[in-house]
């Protein structure tokens, strides 16, 4: 009964993810696409909660739904054509990509479904904050302290790069500064 119940919930969430993901990529207005993406991300968080990954679910909501969607919306509003509708895709392109997607999807699905997955012999462990924290800071096998430290470099580089690119500089926006800006 319990398995059946979680299955039902899983399929409902999965259907929601699929449905809104499709809406997100087919929507003609970019801001609506962002909103649908938001729903997709929230539904994914629901999936994590269903799997009992509370921390991952919380991270998903805090980072993706809370941070990245806001970023996406800001960057959409940065452009001057936020309200513009997308041009409809040409018929040939539409059918070609549909064919590619369907073939790829069918192939992947067939291969994955026909694979005899062996159930893990390890016992399921409750993933709580304690074990996450220890794994994150552990030096041993299945410990992630190196990745943890290295990510700080990724974040630093991302921060510096973003500031360099987005910061206004004297002379930005001129039509052809290539000739005038060289100091020599």
């Amino acid at each position: 009964m319990e398995i059946a119940a979680s299955k039902v919930i899983f399929y409902i969430i999965a259907a929601a993810i699929l449905f809104f993901a499709l809406l997100s990529v087919t929507s003609k207005r970019i801001l609506r696409a962002a909103t649908y993406l938001f729903i997709v991300l929230i539904s994914t968080a629901a999936l994590y909660f269903l799997l009992n990954y509370q921390f991952l679910g919380a991270v998903q909501i805090a980072l993706y739904a809370g941070g990245i969607v806001v970023m996406i919306i800001f960057s959409i509003l940065l452009t001057s054509h936020a309200g513009q509708k997308f041009e409809p895709v040409s018929r040939l392109k539409f059918f070609a990509s549909l064919l590619a997607v369907l073939v790829g999807w069918a192939l992947s699905l067939w291969v994955i479904l026909s694979h005899p997955f062996v159930a893990s012999s390890k016992e399921a462990v409750e993933v709580n904050m304690d074990s996450i924290g220890k794994a994150l800071l552990s030096y041993d096998r299945n410990g992630y302290v190196l990745v943890f430290e290295v990510i700080s470099i990724l974040l630093l580089a991302a921060m510096i790069g973003a500031i360099v690119i987005s910061k206004k500089q004297p002379g930005d926006g001129e039509t052809n500064p290539d000739n005038s800006k060289t100091s020599k």
Binding site: V111, R141, I160, S183
Partner: protein, 474 residues
């Protein structure tokens, strides 16, 4: 224990140290003394490069997440040599008024991408590999968009970012399928689970190799290359085409030999096909280019096809030939880019026809360019001949005669278009050739290093033996 960690990760630690030092300089040093930062960084990085060649024992850290050996240290050192030359070449560009404001940021971003490549090469599991890949590619997009005043540069940044995000997605899907099969992400555990090959493994492998092929810009995943190479600042283009490509080739060879070794019969056909396509299509497109940056972009695509020749036959000679080829490719391509950059810095000209009659006014630059072109094409006295020769030998040893035949045909085609540039410089008449100019000391040093390298690495055989010895022990 700390000492062991420091000694095994010394290249990573010292590179991060340099990057952090530059950042601290940017934060604290007065604008007036900012000029000093670049030479100091150069010296530090030079020391870092030389120290990288000091032999030391390999080992595994963090439960196998970080694995290093003599061979991996050598790969990093080869990249170091390239980055050092690029740093030398970038000084003139960085000192321009537009770029000087953000010269330190350029260095930091450059070092960040290199750190990512280090970790990628030394990764012992897919997580570390992926994080390394992201560190290598995200700052690279920012470097591509570095010329904020040019819309083409921003376009290059966005195109690179979107493409690398897409390829990362494809790659991650492949990794997730591997995880589904095995339940582990550690490189040393994975081969145990792959041995009877399942269709799922094949599917995962195709996704995985496609993702890597995107990064290496192999045909048919190369379409982003030309636009990104053309739009980026020239120094970044040379970084893309040399360092980034070299790192991707290194990591591909490591993974294929370490993780997917037993599935050789499965992937050798894929590599074969990619190699033939990449060499041929890259060449055919390079024939038609008129912009020298686009031209070098497509020629570098076809060079990546040659790198794959070393992978079809799994043995130590193959890896040796790849490292040797990349070292020489770095020297020759950077030599060509160095000339392009020196000219673009002074005149802003980037078309091949602008080079007409260059020999009359700038004989030394023309000679350097000619050497670079000869080396890229593989004409005997230059090192490019030897590197291609070893790759061909290795493939022929594995019985891939058709592949070698196609590669030789492609070499002949490439000879044609490389000689077109030489012809433009030496033979084509021009009423108003580029005026005579003198580059700064850094550019000249960089070009001198590359020219000496093009001769020395080819003729001085102990270098090949040195690489060979290291790889044999790998």
């Amino acid at each position: 224990m700390l000492l062991q960690y420091l000694s095994l990760m010394r290249q990573e630690v010292s590179l991060i140290f340099i990057a952090v030092l530059v950042l601290i300089c940017e934060l604290t040093v007065n604008q007036r003394y900012k000029k000093v930062v670049i030479p100091i960084t150069l010296v530090l990085f030079g020391v870092h490069t030389i120290l990288g060649f000091v032999p030391f024992d390999g080992g595994k850290l963090f439960g196998g997440m970080f694995a290093t050996s003599h061979a991996q240290a050598l790969m990093k050192s080869v990249l170091n040599v390239g980055v050092f030359i690029i740093l030398l070449q970038s000084v003139a560009w960085l000192k321009k008024e537009v770029n000087f404001q953000k010269s330190n940021e350029f260095l930091i971003l450059l070092f960040s991408t290199l750190t990512g490549m280090y970790f990628m090469i030394s990764s012992g599991d897919f997580l570390m590999f992926y994080i390394g890949l992201e560190i290598a590619s995200i700052p690279m997009a920012m470097l591509a968009a570095f010329d904020t005043f040019r819309s083409k540069s921003s376009e290059a940044g966005i195109k690179f970012l979107l493409n690398s995000a897409l390829s990362s997605g494809i790659l991650l899907f492949g990794i997730s399928l591997f995880y589904a099969i095995s339940g582990t992400i550690y490189f040393d555990d994975l081969p145990l689970y792959f041995s009877p090959v399942s269709p799922l493994f094949a599917l995962g492998f195709i996704f995985f190799i496609s993702g890597l092929a995107f990064k290496m810009s192999l045909v048919p995943f190369h379409l982003w290359t030309a636009d990104v190479y053309e739009g980026s600042p020239t120094i970044v283009t040379s970084y893309f085409s040399v360092i980034s490509k070299g790192a991707a080739a290194f990591i591909t060879s490591i993974l294929l030999f370490k993780v997917f070794f037993n599935q050789l019969y499965l992937w050798k056909d894929i590599i074969y096909l990619l190699s033939v396509l990449t060499m041929t299509v890259g060449n055919l497109f390079a024939l038609r280019q008129t912009n020298i940056k686009r031209f070098l972009a497509f020629s570098s695509i076809s060079q990546a096809g040659f790198i794959l020749l070393g992978l079809v036959n799994v043995d130590s000679l193959g890896v040796t030939a790849i490292i040797y080829f990349i070292l020489i490719y770095i020297l020759s391509n950077l030599s060509a880019f160095g000339v392009v950059m020196a000219i673009a810095n002074v005149t802003g000209k980037e078309e091949i026809k602008d080079y007409n009659g260059l020999y009359k006014t700038n004989p030394l630059l023309s000679l350097t360019m000619m050497l670079a072109m000869f080396s890229l094409a593989g004409i005997p006295p230059t090192a490019g001949f030897f590197s291609k020769f070893f790759l061909f030998t290795d493939a022929a040893k594995g019985g891939y005669y058709w592949l070698v035949f196609i590669a030789v045909l492609n070499t002949i085609i490439s000879l044609y278009y490389y000689l077109l540039v030489v012809k433009a410089m030496f033979i084509s008449p021009n009423e108003q050739p580029i005026e005579r100019f003198r580059s700064d000391i850094y550019t000249r040093t960089a070009l001198l290093i590359t020219v000496v390298g093009i001769f020395a690495v080819g003729i001085y055989s102990p270098i090949f033996e040195y690489i060979r010895n290291i790889i044999d022990k790998f």
